[in-house]
């Protein structure tokens, strides 16, 4: 505990943020549940007859990125207007404590609420599919993910979750940097960055025509170098 950091003050700040914004948080959680509910309903009702467990995870990841981005881009909106900015900046807590309180709600609380909504809706959708399977045996099927066998999927899922935290960080930065339309501006900047990155990689790939080198695969064909391995 230092002059600029105190666990007691951080806990008080988190409690204050909860009390002052709880109505908005509850509404956001309901909106999240509603939006995911719509997508899951469409999947469960119009998903064909061969259901695949990969689909809800893909829905979940897309939802996580979009809603997480929207939520993160509102994280520092207190700084966007003069009146709220003075209230926030002049409040007796350090920058670090204020930042950690924002992170607490944006990363920990949001992720837990999202996971809860996702798990609940996935469970409900699966229950509905199970009812269909029981009612029309042989006609409907549900392919569950075998996590030990579908190694690629678990790797991709894990990488997407890492990417989510990176994207959250960018949207948090965007919410500080841009007073208005931070979500849209941040998306435009991310898109510009990705396009620049692809352009740069393509240029590098052209500079090394003898190597199997493209955006999505890298093979090691350098003579004498050890083979690429992935530790799981």
């Amino acid at each position: 505990m230092t002059a600029n950091f105190s666990f007691k003050r951080l806990a008080q700040l988190i409690a204050k943020q909860w009390i002052e914004n709880r109505r908005m948080y509850w509404m956001s959680a309901l909106a999240l549940l509603g939006l995911l509910g719509i997508v899951f309903t469409i999947w469960a009702v119009n998903g064909g007859k061969q259901y695949n467990e990969e689909v809800p995870y893909v829905i979940g990841l897309f939802g996580l990125f979009i809603t997480g981005g929207v939520f993160a881009s509102t994280a520092f909106n207190m700084l966007g207007t003069k009146d709220k900015g003075i209230y926030w900046i002049s409040f007796p807590a350090s920058h670090l404590e204020k930042f950690l309180a924002v992170l607490f709600f944006n990363l920990i609380v949001f992720s837990l609420v999202y996971l809860l909504c996702f798990s609940l809706l996935k469970m409900l959708a699966e229950s509905y599919i199970q009812v269909l399977i029981d009612k029309y045996p042989g006609e409907y099927s549900y392919r569950k993910i075998n996590w030990s066998r579908d190694e690629n999927f678990s790797v991709v899922l894990l990488n997407f979750i890492y990417a989510f935290f990176a994207v959250q960080a960018v949207f948090l930065l965007g919410s500080v940097a841009f007073k208005r339309f931070s979500f849209i501006i941040t998306i435009v900047l991310i898109a510009a960055f990705i396009f620049s990155f692809i352009f740069y990689i393509t240029k590098i790939a052209k500079a090394f025509p003898d190597h199997n080198f493209d955006l999505f695969t890298v093979s090691n064909d350098i003579p004498g170098a050890p083979a690429l391995t992935r530790n799981m």
Binding site: A3, N4, S6, R9, Q12, A15, K16, I19, E20, N21, R23, T81, K82, D83, K84, I86, Y87, I89, S90, F91, P92, A93, S94, H95, E97
Partner: protein, 193 residues
């Protein structure tokens, strides 16, 4: 105070309170606002806060968002005074207050002033606060143009309303009004302010 304000350290911020002209208050009941904000101000007095609210005739059970601008301002002023910070900055505190509330405001401020507090008020409506002020600083574009105590000013200058054209001609400053000429002259007779 020994702090660099730009660093906004908690120890400094808990001893300074700002009542801005454009202010924000969250959408919660007064009780909730106090319970989550007061712990950050060690000098906060609940008893004082209730007394100020009573003087401003604000019911404690009201939600802040249901209140008018003037009522919210009175809650913020009450909270600011009850925090008992060493420095209290107020920007146009009488803006948005009706005549009755301005009178209540003067009364509350007069009762809250003590030797441990420095209340800095920025205002264009000097008339609302003239009896409370003991030092006047005029700032233009960040430059201090004038900085004197009321005692110093009144020992050197005389402010009065005059119907005499000769007085007006010889005044250091004059402004026509319905009641005659408001003039500023040298205080040659050692009159009170």
């Amino acid at each position: 105070m020994g702090y660099e304000p730009g660093k906004r350290q908690p120890a400094f911020l808990r001893d300074v309170f700002i009542v801005p002209e454009e202010f924000y208050l969250p959408d919660v009941a007064i009780e909730k606002f106090v319970s989550c904000n007061a712990p950050f101000y060690p000098g906060f007095s609940r008893q004082q806060f209730n007394t100020y609210l009573e003087e401003f005739s604000i019911p404690l059970e009201n939600s802040l968002q249901q209140m008018s601008y003037g009522q919210k301002k009175k809650v913020l002023i009450s909270f600011a005074l009850a925090c008992n910070t060493s420095i209290l900055l107020m920007d146009e505190p009488s803006n948005g207050l009706d005549i009755m509330s301005k009178s209540q405001f003067r009364k509350v401020i007069a009762g809250a002033i003590d030797d441990n507090k420095c209340i800095i008020i920025s205002t264009h409506q000097v008339k609302d606060l003239e009896n409370l002020i003991d030092r006047i600083t005029i700032i233009d574009e960040g430059n201090i143009l004038f900085d004197q105590t009321i005692d110093d000013i009144s020992s050197k200058l005389s402010f009065r309303v005059s119907f005499d054209d000769e007085d007006a001609k010889n005044a250091l400053y004059r402004e026509e009004s319905l009641k005659g000429n408001v003039i500023v002259t040298a205080n040659t007779y050692r009159e009170d302010f």
